[in-house]
């Protein structure tokens, strides 16, 4: 199948998935109890005003009308406006209904676009840390299956997956930041604030990389072309770095695609603990404040990112390993 047709098919499937996700989350948010307008206008607002605002925002129309309007907006690149956040900064959920300082409400798209680079920075640094930790342990374990490097890989990854990210974050912040004052921890005020959260995230990702690597490296090592390479006179280092690493890269890439949602979960909690102003913190605040348009926007953007990442991962895998087909 040609590359273009393959891409078209994957993108169409992806669009369908994103549509289903948005329909699901949209319906879900409208059937749960609790009126977001009450939160926006404040507890003291008169009933008539609430109804007026709700009607004004179209929140009293039937669900399918609201959803149609929402999808039409998305197609034009408009994810709507936040319920509680003003365009000029901090959230003011639950403020007084006649607050004159409340200006224009913030656009969901710009809220997401502003915090996404922060999360990307965190995720990339975490990925680098995770690879630095996991590569030596995983490759070594795979080269000596059954021997102690292999066992060490098993032990260390069992311990790593058993460290809940929020607890590890608190403990490390207490030790490294408060007691030893090595790295800053809470909030964001320069790149140094990314280090500790990225490290905690890396500990969460590392065991999956270690496990995938030990299995795939051991698998590659048992293949005949490795024996032949030794006969051809290649040194052990050449074999490991040229043949084994390259062949183990594909499972690693696939892992990245599959574990994306896990990474997302980690980002969410870690940003919350460290008060790191990325997508995760935005999501948690949106849920706490019942900021429905923001929740919807985040769900749609992450679903789209998931779809795209998986397409890129599959393409990269076929580039590395020509035996794979589209």
């Amino acid at each position: 199948m040609s590359l273009v047709r393959y891409l078209a098919r994957r993108l169409a499937q992806g669009a369908l998935i994103v549509f289903l996700v948005s329909a699901l989350i949209f319906t879900l948010l409208r059937v749960v109890p609790g009126d977001p307008v009450r939160l926006m206008a404040g507890g003291m607002a008169p009933e008539a005003l609430i109804e007026e605002i709700a009607a004004d925002m179209g929140l009293r129309d039937p669900i399918y009308v609201q959803f149609g309007r929402y999808v039409a907006g998305i197609l034009q690149g408009d994810l709507g406006q936040s319920f509680v956040r003003p365009a000029n900064g901090a959230a003011v959920g639950g403020a007084s209904f006649d607050d004159s300082t409340r200006g224009e409400r913030a656009k969901v798209w710009s809220l997401i676009a502003n915090s996404a680079p922060m999360t990307l920075q965190l995720a990339l640094l975490a990925m680098i840390f995770a690879l630095v930790i996991a590569l030596p342990i995983g490759v070594w374990g795979g080269l000596r299956p059954g021997a102690w490097p292999d066992r060490f890989a098993l032990y260390i990854s069992s311990v790593f997956v058993s460290l809940p990210n929020f607890w590890l974050g608190i403990v490390l912040a207490l030790l490294l930041s408060v007691k030893l004052q090595l790295v800053p921890a809470i909030g964001y005020n320069g790149f140094a604030y990314t280090i500790l959260p990225a490290f905690v995230l890396a500990i969460e990702i590392a065991p999956f990389i270690i496990r995938t690597l030990t299995v795939s490296v051991a698998g590659v090592m048992s293949q005949s072309f490795i024996d032949i390479a030794a006969v051809r006179g290649l040194t052990r280092n050449q074999i490991v770095f040229r043949h084994v690493m390259k062949n183990s890269a594909v499972p690693l890439l696939n892992l990245l695609g599959v574990q994306f949602s896990m990474l997302l979960g980690g980002v969410l909690v870690i940003e919350f603990i460290f008060d790191y102003p990325g997508l995760g913190l935005l999501t948690i605040n949106a849920v706490m404040q019942r900021d429905f348009p923001l929740i919807q926007g985040i769900a749609i953007v992450t679903a789209a990112a998931f779809v795209l990442i998986n397409i890129v991962v599959d393409l990269a895998a076929t580039t590395i390993d020509p035996r794979l087909e589209y």
Binding site: V21, S158, P164, F166, W167, L174, L264
Partner: protein
Amino acid sequence: MSAIDISPPAPSQARAKKISARIWSEAFSSIEFRIGLIVFALLVAAAGLYPWISDIDPTKMNIRGKLSPPVMMGEGWSWAHPLGTDQLGRDMLARTLVGLRYSLLIGISTTILMVAVGAMVGLFAGYFGKRIDTILMRLTDAQLSVPMIILAITILGVSRPTIPSIILVLGLAGWPVYARVMRSTVMAERKKEFVRGAMVLGATDWRIMFTLLLPLVLPPIMFVAVLDIARMMIFESVLGFLGLGVQPPTPTFGNIIADGRKYLMNAWWIATMPGVFLVLTLTSVNLMGASLERARNKIYAGA
């Protein structure tokens, strides 16, 4: 394995039992499994027996005895509260052990739910194939690409979290992996002689699926599920930490640690000590799960 297998197909239950027994004994022979089992048994015994041994109520407040540190870790500790007390003078050990019970309860029932749902979907998809397979597998793919964590915190965030709703939300988030594994094994098994033999003898689809295939393919999957118990326990604690788990005053790992975070500067033990118990429990479960998974892979590679 010889190229031509002329032995008559063994009855499936007996074969499955044999494989399961081999996986168990293989795993049991490894040190890490035994260590995990011993630690896990001790923790479960502590969580189960504590209420009978001690009459300390984990929700009973005692403001005069508040913020007392764990044994030998600061001034004013006492053996009455081995892990110290929290900001309201509640006994930390009792709270931690009650938290452990909820963690295990939710972790195990969530895993059972997701294995059950995944196994059913995979069984139907793999056995019937064609249309049913396509529909069920597309559903699985779609579910895998939904950011489940966002969905989970949204559902629990906007409704009031209860134990059943937590189990349901977490369980429904995890089944697709099991559906895939189940489907591929069922597809491989259903082509074998004993299934075709049963068909010739006039067995119904229902009978073949539930009395022949299910007992054969489910046990190996359940070994892998042990790892997911730990994963779900972490999820439960994360939800509790975010305030979306079992609600206070019921103590859970998550909500104790979230509480303790506020007192981190003058009472570090509230947030850290329950975490040590949680990490111990998770490590023991993960060690058992990892060695079971290894044993399973080894047996299947050799069989």
